[in-house]
Every structure is written in structure tokens, then in C-alpha cells.
Amino acid sequence: MSDVKFVERAYDLFADTVYRVCVMYLKNQADAEDIVSDTFLKLFSYGKPFNGDDHLKAWLIVTARNQCKNTLSHWWNKARTDLDSIPEPAAPAEDFMALAVENLPEIYREALYLYYYEGYSGQEASKMLGITESAFWSRLKRGREILRLEMEEECDERKRVQSGI
């Protein structure tokens, strides 16, 4: 079991990261708040030492991810449509990337997030996701491609609207 002070320090350092991961998976703040709390309580119950803050951060991300996936796959969540997860009918242009990211299938979203936002290498990220490195690169490539296509379509749409076609 971890020390209370250790958990508090970890929270101060990584609460933002854990919350971001939770919102990315759950797409709503209320559920994310619960999982943030659960993740740090899990840390408290975790008995093993960490090799520095990087290791701790990776553990927190993986644990939060697992918690979120459990929540999403929980029996009563499967058939539930969260109001927050229903996209707005017409997203403002500047939010389009956000919407595209949110609509991206989870396996691609998490790969892109870990690689581009958190800056993990392919090797590190694949380890965290529990997949082979090659599978990670495939996902990254596919995710990038989907986003690119989405953005291109949006640009075309905007051009059409601007030109009055």
C-alpha cells in the first residue's frame, strides 16, 4: 500500500494528465472525475515501487485507461448513450478538429494521443497499450489517415459554403 503523501504528490503532478486521459476515453467530465479519483485510490492500494516519475506517470495513464475501458464496457454502460457524447449537430469550424478527434475510433485516438500529445515513442506507447509495436504503428497510420480525410472533407465543405455552391 502506498503512502498518503506519495499519492497526494502524484495527484499534484499528474491529476491533469489522468483527467485528460479519462475525458479522452469517456468523453464526459462527470465520469472522468470519478475515474480520476478511482485511479489515485488504486495507486494508494498499489504495493510496488516506481522507477521514477516517468514510470509513475505511465502507470497512471495505463491504469486510468483500464478503468475507463472497464467503465465503458460495464454492462449498464453498453447500451447507454451519454448525452455528452452526442455530437452537436453543427460544430463551429474551429471545433471541427476536436469533433473529429472525438469521433475517431478509440484504438486510433489513444495511439495518436500517446504519440503526439504525450510524446511517447512507438515502443513505449505500444507497451502501454499492450499491443505489438507494429500494431501501434498501423493504428497511428490509420488514425492519421482518418483525421486527414475528415479535415480535407471539412475544408472542401467550407470552400463550397464560401463560394456559395
Binding site: V4, Y19, G47, W76, M97, S138
Partner: protein
């Protein structure tokens, strides 16, 4: 993709924790961790407490109301372990025909069990019910889409068949006996969209008196809606089912990696893709829940209840600290587990379990999963520790699964709607598997690499071996080298003639992964639109 814009998404307001929330969550964590540091959860062995805490599924809420007694007719005399998580309710509603009483409730994280009774007062209602011994699942939710439920062929009860999926006023989830006497109601919901719970009801014969029938109702899945029970053909007495806030503790054990390792030695062909194996097992005082991402197989169905199939479950036992063992089937109502939904099932216990006394979960009579997650998983027969190792079967699973998902995702949306076009792997031998593509037969075979041999040499060697082995003759159409996510790859496109006749076009991909040489063979099997081959080629940058 624009990287800066992508990063900005995660820096936007939605993804940043507010100071208020940050403070609130921190307080919650500090409060709980401080309390846990001071007070043990249970008066039980340190290792048991530690294992439960590590499992992180332990849930304990407010203090007990206690005082339940009727559950003895369901669970036997020892209700002690569930007393803190039970409530005595004793709510009664009546009309001229019936007196309905909700007596008691008990809950774990996933199920709430209620006991209620129906007293017949007058008229037709005074006739004795034919419900004794009945056991049925309330509904087939997916059938609700078309506005009707499939009524079960149940002689003495029926499931209502006139449900309107768009009626959000009141939904009768099920009814028993021909006069729709007992119902569970759910009000003001769009049923099919919002309700994923399952319901089971069982007559409690041990409590039955001349004029009164007793029932145990199990609401499985963490029902979020407010339910009520009612009685009578038309509008009769009705009682809302209160939520039980105290949840009995549970321990979850991830089992997949270990039995997978065990089965590699004993029965490798059943390993993957089987719906007879569990990934996770959760044990509570009221039930054992099983989850399997690949789904759960039905052995048979009766009265709309589907029962769980598989040697994994049939051999499952709980081992106790005192050295005794008890089969899951022996502890479960009707001896079998019940399928709750596609990927989950439950073994509802016929007696209350003190999970603090459980030492291990055992399958195949020999694979022992200690509840203390720090203790090693062992093969009891040999005494050897089971340590998951990454082997050829795992490699085939990873590469095969990745490829199948990828190929499937490349099918155009209008074709792949609600349908899987490539799935697998299914094992053919210990080093080869099949990916079930819609348009190609895809076989993947794994070989050991030969030290010092280049990929090109290995590809040539294996290509010749295939010809010799099957007595085929290849005429190579094209041969290309390239790179993709696994590194170097060689692609060979060839016409094959067998016994002097043309047998079609075969496509081979040779590449290495995890120190093994993998060969992918694609043979076209449909004349329609073809995607699988193109999909794989798109992964490759040819030199």
C-alpha cells in the same frame, strides 16, 4: 494531419481539469486514503484484505440496516456475510384482489435481489398460482425494437408481447401467469435504448403459504431506472423498488493470460476465439460473474434463460482457506451459470459466500488462481508456477488479430455495415492459423528463422518448400520487396498449377516479427469486389 491543431484539442477547456474539481477530487482521495490507512476493511487475514484491496473492486458503503430473515429460504441459514449489505423493507400495497409486500433486499456491485410476496384476497385471484418452481428471464430486450417481445413458450407464465418500443410512458417488463399477475414495471424510459439490465424471478417455495406466494427477484446489471413491482391483470397494487446503496464486496481476478499459458501445453487449438473461456472472474458473496470478450457460449436455453457452456466453467471450483473445495456448479442455483449478455454471465449462488474465506479460484482441476494477486498462479498437478510467456500462438494471435481488424476496417462502410468481413485468427495447427476474410482465404504460418539467412533467402526457401510439399507448380508473376510496420517484407504474386491444371492466383507475403518468420498466403475465394489483398498491400511501401 496538423499536429499543432491536434495537440490543441487536448489543451482545450474540456480536457483540462478545473481547479474546483481538482480540489474536490483531491479531498475525496485524501479522505479515503487517510481512512483506509487507519481502519482495516474487515476483521480478516492480512493477505485476504490485501488481495481485495489490490483487486480494487471492493465496495463497502453505509452501515447495515440488517434484520433480514426471508433470504434464508434462498441462501440457507448463514446470512452473516451479507447482513451489512441488506435491507429490511416491508412495504405493502393492496387492492381488493391482492396484497403485495416487498420484504427484503440485498445487493452486490452488479445484482440486487429482492424478496416480495403476493397474497390472494378475493375472486379469481384467490385461486392458487401455478407459478411454483418457475424460473424465468424477464425479457428479450433486443426483440423490443420491432414493437414486440418474443413470448416464451412457458405454460404458466408469459412475457408480454404487446410492448411498443416508442411508448415511453410505462413498460411492463414481464408478467407471470396467464392473467399477467406479477409484473415488473419501468416508467418513463425509452426502453430499448436506455435499459441494459436483466431480470430473473424465482418462486420461493419454502415460504409459500395457502394464500401467499413468495418470489425472489434478481435485477442484474446495475439497473439505473426506477423499477416497480405490481400485481393484477389491470392496474393493481404497485411498489417502487428502492435502490440498495450498500453493496457487498467483490474480488476480481484476471485469468486469461494464465489459462492461456496452461492451454498452450494441453489444448492449444481451443485457445483463442473460443466462447467457452473467461477473461475475468468476479466473486461476490451472492454470485460469481464471468466476462469474456469473445462472448459466452450457450449450452442450452430454457424458459428464455440461456445457460453457460464450457469446460472452463464446468470445472471451476472455489478453494477455501481450510482446504475444502466446492464446485461453482454446486454452489449455483440450477447448477449452471446464466448468460446475462453477449460477453457476461453470472452464477447466482444458492448459499451466501464469505469471500474472505476463499483462497483460490480453480479451473481444469489444476490451474489455481489465488485471490491474493501477489501469490503465483500454479499448476496444482505439477506444482509448477504458471508464468505467461510470449510464444508462437501469441504471435499468431497478435499479428492475426491486428491484420483481421485492419482488413475489416478497410471495407467500405456501405458493405461493412453491421457485419464483420474479416475476423480471426482461428487455429489450424500450432504454427498456422486462418483469417476468415470475406473475399480471400488467408492462411498465416509461423516458422523459426535460420541464423544468418536473409529475408529474401528465407522467402525463396519457403516458397520452394511449399511447392514441393503440395506438389504445386508456381509461375511467378511478380516479386517485390518493401517495408511495412514489421520491417522488411517480400511479396510474391504467383499463378499456381496443381497436377498440370491451373489452380488460380496465390499471393504470398514473407516478413519477420519477434524473431520468427511469418508467411501470409492469400487465395481469392469470391468473384465480387475484392479488398483484403489491396488492404495488405496498402500497408507496404514497395521499393
Amino acid at each position: 494531419m496538423r499536429e499543432k491543431e491536434f495537440k490543441a484539442v487536448f489543451d482545450s477547456e474540456k480536457y483540462v481539469i478545473s481547479q474546483d474539481m481538482k480540489y474536490r477530487v483531491k479531498n475525496r482521495i485524501t479522505e479515503k486514503t487517510t481512512a483506509k490507512s487507519k481502519i482495516p476493511f474487515f476483521k480478516r487475514s492480512a493477505s485476504a484484505v490485501f488481495s481485495i484491496v489490490l483487486a480494487s473492486i471492493l465496495v463497502i458503503t453505509a452501515a447495515a440496516v440488517g434484520g433480514i430473515a426471508l433470504f434464508k429460504s434462498v441462501y440457507g441459514d448463514n446470512l452473516e456475510p451479507i447482513m451489512p449489505y441488506s435491507e429490511q423493507i416491508n412495504l405493502t400495497a393492496a387492492d381488493a384482489n391482492y396484497e403485495l409486500t416487498l420484504h427484503e433486499a440485498v445487493a452486490d456491485e452488479y445484482t440486487t435481489a429482492y424478496i416480495f410476496s403476493v397474497k390472494r384476497l378475493a375472486g379469481n385471484a384467490a385461486e392458487e398460482s401455478q407459478d411454483a418452481g418457475m424460473f424465468f428471464k424477464g425479457l428479450e430486450q433486443t426483440n423490443g425494437k420491432n414493437g414486440s417481445y418474443a413470448a416464451g413458450n412457458i405454460s404458466d407464465l408469459k412475457i408480454l408481447s404487446s410492448f411498443n418500443a416508442y411508448d415511453t410512458v410505462q413498460i411492463q417488463i414481464f408478467a407471470s401467469s396467464l392473467d399477467s399477475r406479477v409484473k415488473v414495471l419501468c416508467t418513463n424510459i425509452g426502453y430499448d435504448a436506455e435499459n441494459a439490465a436483466e431480470y430473473l424471478i424465482r418462486a420461493v417455495d419454502g415460504l409459500k403459504t395457502e394464500a401467499t406466494d413468495y418470489y425472489a427477484l434478481y435485477v442484474i446489471n446495475g439497473e439505473e431506472q426506477t423499477l416497480s413491482i405490481a400485481v393484477g391483470a389491470e392496474k393493481g397494487p404497485e411498489i417502487a423498488l428502492p435502490k440498495v446503496t450498500q453493496k457487498a464486496p467483490s474480488v476480481t481476478r484476471s485469468v486469461q493470460d494464465y489459462y492461456r499459458q496452461y492451454l498452450k501445453q494441453t489444448d492449444p487449438m481451443v485457445l483463442y476465439g473460443s466462447r467457452r473461456l473467461a477473461d475475468n472472474v468476479t466473486i461476490t458473496p451472492l454470485a460469481t460473474y464471468v466476462e469474456s470478450a469473445k462472448g459466452i457460449k450457450t449450452i442450452w436455453a430454457s424458459n428464455s434463460v440461456k445457460y453457460i457452456d464450457g469446460a472452463f466453467y464446468r470445472t471451476a471450483e472455489l478453494m477455501f482457506n481450510d482446504g475444502t473445495e466446492k464446485a461453482l456448479s454446486e454452489m449455483s442455483q440450477d447448477e449452471f451459470g446464466i448468460i446475462v449478455n453477449k460477453t457476461t454471465g453470472v452464477f447466482l449462488f444458492n448459499e451466501v459466500l464469505d469471500i474472505g474465506l476463499v483462497k483460490s479460484f480453480l479451473v481444469y482441476d489444476t490451474v489455481e488462481f489465488p485471490m491474493d494477486v501477489n501469490a503465483p498462479v500454479v499448476d496444482r498437478e505439477t506444482g509448477e508456477r504458471i508464468v505467461p510467456k510470449y510464444e508462437t500462438l501469441d504471435l499468431m494471435y497478435d499479428v492475426g488479430n491486428g491484420l483481421a481488424s485492419y482488413i475489416d476496417s478497410t471495407y467500405p462502410a456501405d458493405r461493412s455495415q453491421n457485419k464483420i468481413y474479416c475476423w480471426g485468427p482461428s487455429y489450424l495447427t500450432e504454427n498456422s492459423c486462418n483469417l476468415n476474410s470475406y473475399d480471400y482465404d488467408i492462411t498465416m504460418t509461423v516458422y523459426d528463422t535460420v541464423e544468418g539467412e536473409t529475408l529474401a533467402d528465407a522467402a525463396n526457401r519457403l516458397f520452394n518448400e511449399i511447392q514441393t510439399k503440395y506438389n504445386w507448380t508456381f509461375s511467378v508473376i511478380s516479386e517485390k520487396d518493401g517495408t511495412f510496420s514489421y520491417g522488411d517484407i517480400r511479396y510474391v504474386d504467383a499463378n499456381v498449377s496443381v497436377m498440370g491444371g491451373a489452380a488460380g492466383e496465390y499471393h504470398y507475403f514473407f516478413f519477420e516479427s519477434n524473431g520468427k518468420l511469418l508467411v501470409l498466403q492469400l487465395v481469392q475465394k469470391s468473384d465480387g469486389l475484392l479488398y483484403s489483398l489491396d488492404a495488405i498491400k496498402q500497408l507496404i511501401t514497395f521499393s
